[in-house]
Structure formats: C-alpha cells, structure tokens
C-alpha cells in the first residue's frame, strides 16, 4: 500500500533516563504536521545498516502542537534492534521518514472520567491524552508504575491527579480498590507490560466494569522464530522469512506491496487469507477471533509466524 509518508527531520534528542530517550521530529519543509489525537502512533522507518526497520511508537507530545511530533523510546537490549538503533544512531538534524499518525487507542468521548493505568514506557500515550484532556477540562486520573524513581520518565512534568508506584520500593497500584471506587461512567485505559494488561483485564471483569469501558494498548513487537517459506498466490512469488524478520517485513524486503498500519497485531490492516497451510500458524495478534485463529484461515503477517511444511497466502 503506497501511502504518502511524512518527511521529517530530527529536531531534538533528549535522554530522559538510563533507558528512555525522547525524540522530536519536525517537517523538513518547515510546515505543520498533520493533526493527531491522544493515543495515536506513527511508524518510524529506520535504515539500519542494510536492514529496514519499521517500528510503531506512540506520540507523546501535545496534540495541539502541530509544529512537531514527539516519541519516547525505551531501549530494549533484548529486542530486535529498532530501539537500539534509535538510541545509538539517531541524532539532531538527521532526516527520517515516518507514517501519518494512526490512532488505535483513542479516548472514549462518552466517559465521565478517564482513569489511566501506565506501566513503565506505557506512559507515552497517556502523556498526549493528558495534554488533550487538559485543553477541554475533562476529568482524568493517572496511576503510573515504574521500577524505581530513576526510571520514572516524565515523573517531574506530570502535574495534577497523578499517583506514582515503584516496584523496587514494593509499592504497587491498589488495582482492586482503585477500580472498585470509580464512579459509574469511568473509562479505564491501560498501557504497559503484558502481565499488567491481563491483571487489569481480569480485575475489571471480576468487578463488573462494562467491557467496552476498559481499553488496552496492545502492540506486540514481532517475536523471532524459526525461518519459513511462504508462497504469495497473488504476486506469484515464494519468499523466505528469516528468523529475525516478520512475514510482513520479508514481503516488503521482496518488493511486495503489503498494507499495514500498526505493525503490532492490533489494527487488522495487514490481514491475509490463508490458501493452504500444512503445519501450524503461530498466531500472535490481538485482531483475529479465537475461532478464526483455530480455523487457520487467516494470518496477520506483522506478528504471526508459521511452522510446518508449506504455507500459501493470498497476497
């Protein structure tokens, strides 16, 4: 899908703490960037010494400020390399390409109150949402858990009804009591590590919070796995997916025009019909239903992989 990209220049690189760095992008032509809303992300393209990396990052700046976009990146030393590239090689003045903003984690305007639950780098979308709500005077509250005060990004800048928790100091979000005392009409938003998401999901369900009032940011970074081959029936190509590349990235590397938006198994844009699968699809997305996953009739190439004899998909 050949969608227009945004040509930007890196304006600022600020080390927030040992693991986290903030980047600010401005339009190369000096103009305003497209408007976005809190919770939106952009896909940042990186030319990492021959490997093209495309990672989604939440916009953490003020949605009212169209003179630049800010992202906040946590260095993941065990990851596939995108965050390490951002930390080591991106410097002010550098020209980069990013996607238009896409929002898969928007504020729900029906809420009477917005309750934010952040774990670690999960603070990024909430920073933008808090800016947005502050402009309209809506009611919000943030509960932000990090490992220790030194790793609490933006802790000094977040003003208002903000509560901090630190694992190392054995202080944890009192989730059950917190959710139990919320007034009717509260919408809950959670962004953090996988364990936190399932903790919040289970506790909210147990207390009877309406399912559609609990929102999750569920990007999954593509996990490496065994290499495999895939036949693309529409393109008429058979390509190889190496262990450290996703199926979507392998298609792109082979010049196949494949649609995408989130690259994290959440948006559904890259969904492909499976023509033939002799083996097992390792579904790792949050998009397909359990029935669809079990039927092996569809695959999300941004995060899911395949193990077995042969795979053919409609692309």
């Amino acid at each position: 899908m050949s969608v227009a990209k945004l040509l930007v220049r890196v304006a600022e690189v600020e080390k927030i703490n040992d693991l986290i760095t903030r980047f600010r992008f401005v339009a190369r032509d000096g103009g305003l960037l497209p408007a976005f809303s809190g919770g939106a992300h952009v896909v940042v393209e990186m030319e990492d010494h021959g490997t093209r990396r495309m990672n989604p990052y939440s916009l953490s700046g003020d949605p009212e400020d169209r003179t630049g976009y800010e992202i906040t990146v946590r260095r993941d030393d065990a990851g596939r390399g995108g965050s390490i590239y951002m930390h080591r090689h991106v410097s002010p003045g550098m020209e980069m390409v990013i996607s238009h903003p896409v929002n898969l984690f928007p504020l729900d305007g029906r809420a009477k109150k917005h309750l934010f639950l952040a774990g670690g780098i999960g603070i990024t979308p909430f920073k933008a949402m808090i800016h947005q709500l502050s402009h309209i005077g809506a009611k919000w509250e943030l509960h932000y858990a990090t490992r220790n005060p030194a790793l609490c990004a933006y802790g000094d800048q977040l003003k208002g009804p903000v509560h901090f928790y630190y694992d190392d100091l054995k202080s944890f979000i009192p989730l059950r009591d917190l959710l139990a005392r919320q007034p009717l009409g509260t919408h809950v938003y959670c962004c953090g590590p996988k364990g936190m998401l399932s903790w919040v999901r289970a506790t909210a369900a147990e207390l009877g919070l309406p399912e559609h009032s609990v929102h999750f940011e569920e990007f999954t970074a593509p996990q490496p796995g065994a290499p495999f081959d895939v036949e693309l029936t529409l393109t008429g190509k058979t390509i190889h997916v190496p262990s450290h590349q996703s199926l979507l990235e392998a298609m792109e590397a082979n010049g196949v025009d494949a649609p995408y938006l989130c690259r994290g198994g959440a948006c559904g844009q890259c969904e492909c019909q499976v023509v033939k699968a002799e083996g097992q699809i390792l579904h790792r997305d949050h998009w397909l239903t359990d029935e669809e996953k079990a039927s092996n009739s569809k695959i999300m190439p941004c995060v899911s992989r395949f193990e077995g004899r042969s795979l053919a998909i409609e692309r």
Binding site: R110, L184, H212
Partner: protein, 199 residues
C-alpha cells in the same frame, strides 16, 4: 417474544443473564418482572447486591408482587415511567463503575433507561436488555420533535403538532424513540386508515 428482522437501527433484545458485578441495577416495567425473576433464579448471588426499580407496564400489568418477593437488597415501585426515571437519576449519582445494568419490559422503558445510563458514560453494548410484554412504541415526530408515548396504531396523529405520522422502524438510542414521518406530505389529506400494529 422477538421482533421480525428489520433495518439495522431497530433494537434487538436478548435474555438477561447474570454477570459479575459489585452491584446489580435492575430496571423493569410490566411483564419485565418475569425476566427479573428468571434472572434472580439463574444468578443466586444477585439478590443481595440488587437494586430493582419497577413500574407497571403501559398495558396496565402490575407484577410488583413478583418483584417484592425476590428478596432484593433494595426494590422500589414507582407510579410511572417518569417517576421511575427521576429515582434512577438519584441512584446513578452514587453508582460505581462495577455496576451491572439490566433492563426488562416494554421498549419505551428500556429505551429511556438505556438513554439515561448512556448519558452517564455506560457503553450501550454492555447494558443487558430483555423485551417482555407490551409492544407499544415511543415515537418522535421528525417535524415538530415532540414525542408521543404508547403509540398503538400506524399511522397515528402526533400528540403535539397533529400531523399524521407513519411509524418507522428507524430508532434513535439518544432519543429513545422510533421515528414518525408525515404520511400525507405529498398529497395532503390522503391518510390511510390507522392499523393497530402495536399492543
């Protein structure tokens, strides 16, 4: 009972089933009392955390005795739908996010309670609704915007502006009303005889 398939905006109803919750807010009219009784029977833990608001149905059915016998922590009988909604507004002031909402009975009562819950930020998809009893409709005249309650015939005469209105299946959750459209706009005076469609 279920309604024949129609356009997408026509509400469809399910069967109330117990869900976990810190509190259970149950609103019913007329024959809806039976749905509430079935709910209590299938969810043994509900009664002790239940608050039931009940009013007789538009057809006069008053099953308050059924509600009163369920052993709910709180149960109140209102004299009419408007007085029930007045009480509901007070209940919602103190309600917590973990409140399960169940609505049962006629479409007018279900729709208006849903509208008031939605206004508090409760997603409509998470409000359980079961239709029982009367099928009379709450209809808004698209011309004068006046709402006529308990419409039995199609067409009917708007109780506000007097136009003769064709009753559509087109429904608004925000207004909790079906849409009524002038039936003789193109040929004034050509009004088909009213047919008793809703009872």
């Amino acid at each position: 009972m279920s309604f024949p398939p129609s356009i997408k905006s026509r509400p469809v109803y399910g069967v109330l089933s117990p869900r976990p919750g810190q509190a259970h807010l149950i609103i019913a009219d007329g024959e809806g009392a039976g749905a509430v009784a079935d709910l209590f029977a299938s969810g043994p833990g509900i009664a002790e955390r239940a608050h039931v608001l009940y009013t007789p149905g538009p057809n006069g059915t008053d099953d308050w005795a059924v509600i009163a016998g369920l052993g709910a922590a709180q149960a109140q009988r209102a004299a009419s739908v408007p007085t029930l909604l007045f009480r509901l507004a007070r209940v919602l002031l103190d309600a917590k996010a973990g409140t399960q909402c169940y609505l049962a009975g006629s479409e007018g009562l279900i729709g208006q309670a849903e509208r008031d819950l939605m206004a508090q930020g409760v997603p409509h998809q998470d409000i359980q609704k079961e239709h029982r009893g009367s099928t009379v409709r709450r209809v808004q005249c698209v011309h004068c915007k006046g709402v006529t309650e308990n419409v039995r015939t199609d067409p009917f005469q708007c109780s506000h502006c007097g136009l003769h209105l064709f009753v559509r299946d087109h429904y608004s959750r925000r207004l909790a009303a079906f849409q009524g459209v002038c039936i003789d706009a193109e040929e004034p005076g050509n009004i088909p005889p009213p047919v008793e469609k809703f009872a």
